[in-house]
């Protein structure tokens, strides 16, 4: 089902016209009402009227998390506080929290967008939706809550935590759709197994998961263990919360971006130049309709790619791939961008290799050198040196193919790799001059 087919299935040339009209309106508003934006645009020597096509957006300055900090708490709002009816914010674990404000109309838009996400993920009016996202300042719970109500579904606002209770509610209240993070879905599956509750005892049909990156393997595992169709959805609180994009249950590949409300670009995070369709880079979002807190070219730090393909669901919207990581994690080795997640994926493709690894980057002379330390678990340990070396060569060859740089693979004894709070520390960068990286 498509919640707003008049927008979600709009011919692309009409959509572009709508986007341009909304962009111009948005630019004029922020220029007039948000001093921080006006200052940035003046510094860049650009005025709203200089933007004559959608492509001209590339001349506008970026907005980053630092802008939120400098204008904390309400400095980026484009309306008077009396127009703001809701505030959400980030946890602020890495500094001052980012504060976002919504007008009445923003909330209306947000509900429509999360209703679109839910409909795309297979939720219907007669469904019982259990929202196991946290409610409160975090946007996940409330965001999808209002969307599910808008759709006319029955909402169980159980919030996060208390897994056994979640399972009891799923069973007794007849939940058909589960909304939470993908890792929590797997946790629920585990606890169900411990409790001896089988998926057949539940009415669960679909799951809509988001708020963290997850892999295709995780999808298959969740689907198998909970007996559901699982889809991904994406959003971030600075931009809106959930409701920026979502997968359709028909294709389950790629998240449709709601382009009538968000203009999206992918840029090279180093050069800051926009990349052609299909290339991986940092997602940059411009909000086209937000009133309370409009954002121009907001750097999400999420890594994805944008591509257009005809989708069996009928939506004409561009798709983004499941985000593969964050620019914060990115390493540049001899000019090549590398994400720890790529290394992990490549290692897991080799039978028996455990996911415990560490990347050590160093600079010898002027050249970056990358070592990948892999723990020699029993599965990949041989008594024969020949076999051991063959395996080492195979891992090295496979990583080099996947990453496009020279890699030295080193086998280390188990537990050599530092673990902080149970989680392995993925990267040790010994180079003296970090060549990139924006600090929080």
């Amino acid at each position: 089902m498509i919640f707003e087919p008049e927008y979600e299935c709009m011919p692309r040339d009409e959509l572009k016209i709508l986007q341009f009209y909304r962009l111009k309106r948005q630019l004029r508003r922020v220029y007039e009402r948000v001093p921080a934006y006006r200052k940035k645009m003046e510094e860049a020597g650009i005025k709203p009227e200089d933007i004559r096509s959608l492509e001209d957006i590339r001349y506008l300055p970026f907005t980053t998390k630092d802008d939120f900090r400098e204008n904390y708490p309400y400095g980026l709002f484009a309306v008077d506080m009396e127009e703001i009816v809701r505030v959400h914010s980030s946890s602020g674990t890495t500094g001052k929290p980012t504060v976002v404000g919504y007008t009445k109309r923003d909330l209306e838009t947000w509900s429509n967008l999360t209703a679109r996400v839910l409909a795309a993920g297979g939720v219907r009016k007669n469904d019982v939706v259990q929202i196991a996202f946290g409610y409160g300042l975090f946007t996940g719970g409330f965001g999808l809550h209002y969307g599910a109500e808008k759709l006319g579904a029955t909402v169980i606002p159980v919030s996060s935590g208390q897994t056994k209770r979640q399972i009891m509610i799923m069973k007794d209240y007849g939940t058909t759709a589960l909304v939470c993070t993908p890792s929590y879905a797997l946790h629920i599956a585990e606890v169900m197994e411990e409790m001896g509750v089988s998926p057949e005892e539940l009415k669960l049909k679909v799951g809509l998961f988001g708020a963290e990156p997850w892999t295709e393997n995780m999808r298959q595992e969740i689907e198998k263990r909970l007996g559901i169709d699982a889809t991904d959805n994406y959003g971030l609180s600075e931009v809106m919360g959930p409701g920026v994009s979502g997968e359709c249950i028909e294709a389950k590949s790629g998240l449709h971006v709601f382009e009538d409300h968000f203009y999206v670009e992918v840029i090279n995070p180093e050069t800051e130049e926009p990349l052609p369709e299909g290339e991986w880079g940092e997602l940059v979002i411009t909000t086209l309709t937000k009133e309370g807190l409009p954002l121009i070219r907001y750097r999400t730090r999420d890594i994805t790619r944008l591509y257009y393909e005809e989708c069996p669901c009928g939506r004409t919207l561009i798709k983004m791939s499941k985000p593969s990581g964050r620019t914060d994690d990115m390493l540049i080795i001899r000019g090549v961008n590398i994400f720890p997640s790529q290394v992990e994926e490549a290692l897991l493709e080799i039978e028996g290799v455990s996911p415990h690894f560490q990347i050590i980057v160093d600079r010898k002379g002027y050249l970056d050198e990358m070592e990948v330390w892999v723990e020699a678990s029993e599965n990949i340990f041989f008594d024969s040196m020949k076999k051991q070396k063959e395996l080492l060569d195979r891992i090295t060859e496979h990583l080099q193919q996947a990453l496009g740089v020279k890699v030295k693979v080193k086998l280390v004894e188990p537990k050599t790799i530092e673990r902080t709070a149970g989680k392995a520390k993925r990267v040790i960068d010994r180079r003296e001059l970090p060549s990139h990286g924006r600090k929080d």
Binding site: S377, F381, D383, S384, M385, K410, E413, K415, T416
Partner: protein, 143 residues
């Protein structure tokens, strides 16, 4: 016919071999024979011990990666030409030795050779056909 050998993954850094020896010693495990294959980064330590289950357990508990592999122990007179008498028929039958190491038996003054072949079964056949003594595991562990 076959003998179980313990193999241990070692990083090539000071004190690792000593650590293995100490753990085994502290737990009353006796090492009958050993060999170490090494590269610049890591080594593979192979051991014949009197109690391999215990050896495996205590080393694993200490965080080492441990494997158990089947090898063959062959007894030969400790005289010139002894090794050649064994290797020649193997070579003639196209059997490749993956690795080997040797030690001298205290009581009988005979040499014991530990062999790893790619094809253990075929190697056993050839050795038997040439009247070469293959030692049973129980005997080797307690040498």
């Amino acid at each position: 016919m076959k003998v179980e050998q313990i193999s241990v993954f070692l990083e090539n850094k000071a004190g690792r071999l000593a650590e293995v020896a100490k753990i085994l010693g502290d737990n009353g495990v006796n090492i009958g024979a050993l060999s170490l294959a090494d590269t610049t980064d890591f080594g593979i330590l192979r051991l014949i011990v009197n109690d391999r289950q215990k050896a495996k357990q205590v080393l694993k508990d200490a965080g080492f990666t441990v494997g158990i592999t089947e090898v063959i122990a062959v007894e030969v007179d400790d005289t010139p030409g002894g090794l050649a008498r064994i290797l020649t028929p193997l070579a003639e039958n196209g059997i490749n030795v993956e690795y080997m190491y040797a030690f001298v038996e205290k009581s009988s003054n005979k040499a014991v050779l530990i062999f790893k072949f790619e094809n253990l079964e075929k190697a056993i056949e050839v050795l038997k056909a040439n009247n070469i003594t293959i030692l049973p595991g129980e005997k080797v562990y307690n040498l």
